[in-house]
Assembly symmetry: C2
Homo-oligomer: 105 residues x 2
């Protein structure tokens, strides 16, 4: 049987991050948010780029250089260059938001 | 508005391949199969590795070094090393099979 992206992972209290593939310069992760958001005033400032897609649920992603957050629903994807500051403003509190993130150099 | 993985692409007769991200050593593609399979006797023998997940639909993926094809449904993923010979034996004829493929070096 193949491993499954949508399978529950054990012990998932809080936001869940599961590494699906890890190679030099490449990391594919599944992230499951259940209402979590970035702490107030916090910005991600990542040394690597990240291509990310929402597969289920709903989220709002804010870039520091944009006025309004982007609403992301199933299938919406964004490429985030290294060091482009961003934060997760909101994820749906009542249903899991599943992200697939490809971190790359 | 963010680009969407599940959005229809124009002019999609036959199997559809859409590049979502293209960087040195990394290519993310969406593939939509509607009953297509690899030609008889054909094996993919790729110079790059491929991590691939089925997001909707159903497929059977066969490796030359395995006796039976693997059944893949929504969320099932496989990492295919470079030059591991494989073929798509079947995709569901009545519903689109959406693959997300990450080709990497």
């Amino acid at each position: 049987m193949s491993p499954n992206l949508f399978a529950d992972s054990p012990g998932s209290a809080g936001e869940q991050v599961v590494a699906l593939l890890s190679r030099p310069g490449l990391r594919i992760e599944k992230i499951v948010s259940t209402g979590q958001s970035s702490p107030a005033g916090f910005w991600y400032d990542q040394p690597e780029a990240e291509w990310v897609v929402v597969l289920s649920g709903e989220a709002r992603l804010r870039f520091e250089d944009e006025v309004r957050p982007r609403k992301l629903g199933p299938g919406d994807f964004v490429d985030i260059p290294a060091h482009r500051r961003h934060r997760v403003e909101w994820t749906h509190p009542d249903q899991p938001t599943v992200w697939l993130a490809v971190h790359y150099r």
